[in-house]
Amino acid sequence: MTEIAEPMQAAAPVSASFHTGNAAMKRLRSRYAAERRFKIYGILAISFACIMLVILLFTLLKGGVSAFWQTEMRLEVTLDAAIIDPQGTGNPADWDRGALQTLANNAIYKEFPEVEGRVEKRDLRGLISPVAGVFISKILDKDPSLVGQTVQVWIPTSDGVNQILKGGIDRTLPEAQRPISDKQLAWVDKMEASGHLKTAFNSTFFTSSDSNYPELAGLFGAAIGTLLTMSVTLLVSLPVGVAAAVYLEEFAPKNKLTDLIEVNINNLAAVPSIVFGLLGLAVFLNFFGMPRSAPLVGGLVLGLLVMPTIIIASRAALKGVPPSIREAALGMGASRLQAITHHVLPLAMPGIMTGTIIGMAHAVGETAPLLMIGMNAFVTQAPTSLFDSSSVLPVQIFIWADKPERGFVELTSAAILVLLAFLITMNGAAIWLRKKFERRW
């Protein structure tokens, strides 16, 4: 600094061939070899990750894609007024919806007039969905004037028939290991030969909620529940997280207390998520008496879970804004808050948003804490408010994965595919937003 410079110490003398001799060449070769080795390790690591990803996706696609299709049977259903409307009022509210299944059953008996006997008839109606009445009910709701007429209806087949036809279950298995008997299989073949069977897009999967019957179960309720829950999560975690980050990074004095807070936030980000679920159970449900299974509570719990991630990402983004920008603003007479809101926050926005969306993507896939607050309830309707009972996508997957029917196995994979699509969309949105904001120089 201010000392008068000392004359430079000459380096120890080396022989002229030190940098060119054989030993030097050997050193050089081993250095290149080390670099090549390192490159190979890197390629191996990436290949391993890619292979695992491909295996995962392949398994899911193989198991799940078939769930987007459902086999249906064409039946001539006589919409008998005496059965539908036993009181004869003509008012759809008075219809006997429970009896609609009988209409579907009668329709299939008519296709096989030779079948008689209680047990035989039971086997026969086992070809169609035991909840076929629900589908007839939907048709009637669309057009009540059909009562009394005979219409052609495509009725979903039962889970067993569905699986055999789609190849989910091998039809060459011994009868005892198949969900349908040899006799039923013969009926199915006959129907298929006469063009009574088709495979249609399973729109029910996207329009209905959970059900005990795979042909009636869908993701709609869980998807709405996820959207509501995520809205609450975002509304809770983003403002609080960003405010905390701004305070800690820009205003807080550096002392023992803020150090302690910082350590705790970092620890909080690593706390097992189920602990947040227990917290939600104790605080939101038991203390504040909020409704169980509600998106409001789920959102609050996930909001707490995501908050540390957002705080950490936002602080890193704020730290990345060059101090010269703050100085420039302060030097122009801006207050600290003005310097932050006018200059620092806009510049930190891409980083904050990336952190937020990564946090939200984490929350979308979170299951364990939601089990604690009862979001694994069996809910057959989509929630209409934040206080309704609801499920969310990952919990729906968890519930279906637990069910023994073959139909639910493929529904589970299909639901995972939908969840992955959710995540890809969110991450895509993150990249897009980032690019958009970064373009503002």
């Binding site: 201010t2 030097g331 122009m332 007479g333």
Partner: protein, 267 residues
């Protein structure tokens, strides 16, 4: 520093009134003392150069003049700094107002990542100097002309300020500082990141700005100090060693340390 050296330092007196007056200014970073009691006056419409080896406290002193040190938690300032006879460390004084009166240009050009136009209008907007579009337009044109940048950028005012060359960016920063019509402009090594041509440009500009503003400039470049300033203050290890007419400091320094520094024995 005792009173005898004080009078010795104060010998070279300008005919202009005193604009900024620093008395016994001490600055502490935590327990470490960075300035040991600095006494110096800056006269109106003069350029005062602050020179000295790295770490001598010249930048620290400059930053006390518009309270930029406030932003550093552990920094503490003692002593008195008067701007037109008014204590700028008076708790009643608003620091926002102070910084409007005492502008600053930094070592590294730091335009906001906004358009050239928005860079200039930021200060006037902040202090409510203008409200209508045409008023802002006029401020932008006047400030850029003053900074000698108007002809280069008048056709691309909406382009980002960060897209300009280094020298242009620094002139933009000067224009931004000038836009709020400050009384004093502090410059912290404004040319250290620039090439010789851009530096010459800025030096010329400083000479012109002197007519309307009072300027204090920190520089590492002694030729620059000799070229642009009327008076020079030499700092060493947190002490103000001597201050006087630039010519005198460079040709006939009183202190041995000044002599050593300007002849390049250390630095």
């Amino acid at each position: 520093m005792d009173t005898t050296t004080l009078t010795k330092n104060m010998e070279a007196v300008s005919t202009q009134p005193v604009k900024v007056c620093a008395r016994d200014v001490k600055v502490f970073y935590g327990a470490k003392r960075a300035l040991h009691g600095v006494n110096v006056d800056v006269y109106q419409n003069e350029v005062l150069a602050l020179i000295g080896p790295s770490g001598c406290g010249k930048s620290t002193f400059l930053r006390t003049l518009n309270r930029m040190n406030d932003t550093i938690d552990i920094c503490r300032v003692e002593g008195k700094i008067l701007l037109d006879g008014e204590d700028i460390y008076d708790p009643k004084l608003d620091v926002v107002q102070l910084r409007a009166r005492v502008g600053m240009v930094f070592q590294k050009p730091n335009p906001f990542p906004k358009s050239i136009y928005d860079n200039i209008t930021y200060g006037p907007k902040l202090h409510g100097l203008a409200t209508r579009k045409d008023e802002f337009d006029e401020i932008v044109e006047r400030s850029l002309k003053r900074a000698g940048l108007w002809n280069e950028v008048k056709d691309r005012l909406q382009e980002p300020g960060t897209g300009l060359s280094g020298g242009q960016q620094q002139r933009l920063c000067i224009a931004r500082a000038v836009a709020v019509s400050p009384e004093v402009i502090l410059m912290d090594e404004p040319c250290s990141a620039l090439d010789p041509i851009a530096t010459a440009h800025i030096e010329e500009l400083i000479d012109e700005l002197r007519e309307s503003f009072t300027i204090a400039i920190v520089t590492h470049n002694m030729q620059q100090a000799a070229r642009v300033s009327q008076r020079t203050a030499f700092f060493h290890l947190g002490d103000l060693v001597e201050v006087g007419n630039t010519e005198e400091i460079f040709t006939n320094p009183r202190d041995e340390r000044t002599q050593g520094y300007i002849t390049g024995r250390y630095g």
